[in-house]
């Protein structure tokens, strides 16, 4: 069976004003379908760079990163965009909802990017908002929602186009303990399925219990997977 993510000897070096910073230094990592993998480690250890490469929004300098058996880095730019639009959902630490769009419009964005008509996209978006418990708030703008509610909208946006990989960056760090647990329960219940994988970058030890496996990173390496 194909793995959701297979990284092999991933290297990424940033050139910051003539100084080279090795962000990923030969990463080997596999994430299976139906698995919730957490990436943890100190700041600057390369977690964000790793999920950026996994999500196909940053190119590695060397090594291979396959998503569902496909080498995204080797794809043409147009194919890569299409692959990302269809197969990856994002949940961000700062929610990154568009403030001038209401909840349903925010959630419908991935569908519109994939060519779904606006009315149909918003209808589907409202369905997914109902799944995350915000069916009655679909007209609300981000500024009218609490942090926990905004993150639920963000999760709905990450799920609406049924991606096979969901990438979450610190999804609970802007939330209180209860909201954080609710978000994680939601991700585990709604997002995680047998044909889908979740990668979560986090510092939040309170949510480690939700992980199937935890990859601990340090200095551009995966030092331990438990």
């Amino acid at each position: 069976m194909v793995d959701a993510v297979r990284c092999e000897k991933l290297v990424k070096i940033y050139d910051t004003g003539g100084q080279k910073v090795i962000a990923l230094n030969g990463i080997d990592l596999t994430i299976k379908l139906g698995e919730l993998m957490m990436l943890v480690g100190p700041s600057g250890c390369g977690k964000t760079t790793l999920i950026s490469v996994i999500a196909g929004i940053l190119d590695q300098d060397s090594g291979v990163c396959e998503l569902f058996g496909e080498n995204v880095n080797a794809m043409r730019s147009k194919d890569k965009l299409q692959f990302r639009a269809q197969n990856i959902g994002f949940v961000f630490q700062a929610f990154n909802l568009l403030p001038s769009l209401n909840a349903a419009e925010n959630v419908s964005i991935p569908l519109i990017i994939n060519g779904v008509k606006r009315a149909e996209a918003e209808r589907k978006a409202i369905n997914v908002l109902e799944q995350v418990g915000l069916g009655d708030r679909w007209k609300s703008y981000p500024s009218q929602l609490s942090g926990g509610q905004q993150q639920r909208v963000a999760i709905a946006r990450a799920l609406v186009h049924s991606p096979r990989l969901i990438v979450c960056d610190e999804p609970t760090s802007a939330l209180d303990h209860v909201s954080g647990h609710n978000v994680m329960n939601l991700l585990k219940e709604v997002a995680l399925q047998h044909d889908r994988a979740l990668v979560i970058v986090t510092h939040d030890a309170r949510i480690f219990e939700f992980a199937d496996r935890i990859a601990q990173m340090d200095d551009g390496h995966v030092v331990k997977v438990t």
Binding site: I57, L81, R84, F90, S100, I109
Partner: protein, 384 residues
């Protein structure tokens, strides 16, 4: 994605209005200032355009523009009449004379003398009286703006009221009686225009050997005007221009020999630069503030081409609204000022000019923003 682009643009009302106002200001300056400029320049040849009947104006060959009078001998009129292709030729006197008002004050006026018999070359619109009233003794017709603004008489209580039909004034110590009021296009110097007959105008004018300013010529039907002007020049040694040529010569004289184009050009350029700076800076800062949102869209799989179209749509929308408001305000300004001394002309070419200016500003603003978004790394979305 167009829907998202428009909602992003209008989501922040303050920023949105800032961009629109910047473009409105630029559009207003780029339309209103040239409209005033064109209005002023149109006044330089308004006397020619107001005199609609003749096809050709004949004058001394050294004349540079309509107010540059170099008188001819009256015999030149008969020489012109003798040229084949000329249907008729009439004399015209045009000169600056001082009018003495009842209260003893003086006002310089443009005095126009028309052929005594035909009165050809008279004012385009008569408001009171008729052109034939000039045949009455000492009769003169005065333009309404000149009457209202400069040719007044004092009432017993000291108030100044415009002269009316039946009132008199003096031109070079000779009596003139107002027999009509006309509407003429204001002249460049905005002096009152007084129409009278040619012979009476000559009696008002200081005694000189030559007093004929222009010979107004009508060509025979079907006569080629270019050919006729060439023939008049050859036979008389005088300058002969079609109405349009004479207007162009006058217009070009003012363009070349006055600072008006430079002064207005500077205003227009400043309007363009300030408008471009305001709109460009606001639009760019709008893009910068939304850079994370563009990053999110990019991360989710939106192509650079789609983002480019979104930014262009935003630029086109604010540009169109700003342009429409600027042009609308200019039109309102022109309408509000239509009865004042302010010169204003608003031809369609001006709409194209300011439209092009606003388009350039929008494209510049959009281009800078597009460059920023094109170079945007979608990984920015993971930075808190």
């Amino acid at each position: 994605m167009n829907h998202i682009a428009l909602k992003m643009l209008m989501g922040d009302k303050g920023k949105y209005l800032g961009i629109v106002m910047g473009l409105t200001f630029a559009s207003l300056i780029m339309t209103q200032q040239p409209a005033i400029f064109m209005g002023i320049l149109a006044r330089t040849y308004s006397f020619i355009s107001d005199t609609g009947l003749p096809d050709i104006w004949v004058m001394d060959e050294k004349v540079q523009f309509v107010d540059d009078i170099k008188p001819l001998q009256d015999t030149e009129l008969y020489r012109v009449r003798g040229i084949s292709g000329v249907a008729w030729a009439m004399p015209m006197y045009k000169g600056l004379l001082k009018a003495r008002l009842a209260d003893g004050t003086f006002q310089t006026c443009i005095v126009v003398g028309l052929d005594d018999t035909t009165l050809i070359g008279g004012p385009p619109i008569m408001l009171q009286g008729s052109i034939s009233d000039l045949r009455r003794s000492d009769g003169v017709i005065i333009d309404i703006d000149g009457l209202n603004e400069k040719l007044n008489k004092a009432t017993p209580d000291g108030k100044k009221i415009p002269l009316k039909i039946g009132d008199s004034l003096e031109l070079n110590d000779r009596r003139a009686i107002v027999v009509g009021v006309a509407k003429v296009t204001r002249t460049f110097q905005s002096q009152p225009v007084i129409y009278t007959t040619y012979s009476r105008a000559k009696s008002y004018a200081p005694k000189e050997r030559k007093l004929l300013s222009f010979v107004l010529v009508k060509a025979n039907q079907g006569q080629d005007l270019g050919e006729l002007t060439r023939r008049i020049r050859e036979k008389t040694g005088l300058a002969a221009y079609t109405q349009q040529e004479f207007m162009d010569i006058t217009y070009n004289y003012f363009i070349k020999n006055t600072g008006i184009p430079i002064n207005f050009g500077i205003s227009v350029l400043l309007g363009f630069i300030v408008g471009a700076a305001i709109a460009g800076q606001t639009f760019y800062s709008f893009t910068l503030e939304n850079i994370r949102q563009f990053g999110v869209l990019k991360a989710m799989g939106t192509s650079n081409w789609t983002l480019l179209r979104m930014i262009l749509l935003q630029a086109v929308l604010v540009g169109s609204i700003g342009y429409g408001m600027g042009v609308g305000l200019t039109a309102l300004f022109g309408y509000a000022m239509r009865h004042t001394i302010l010169a204003f002309k608003f031809p369609w070419q001006l709409l194209v000019f300011s439209g092009a200016g606003v388009s350039i500003i929008c494209m510049l603003a959009a281009f800078i923003s597009i460059l920023k978004v094109m170079r945007l790394e979608p990984a920015i979305v993971f930075k808190s």
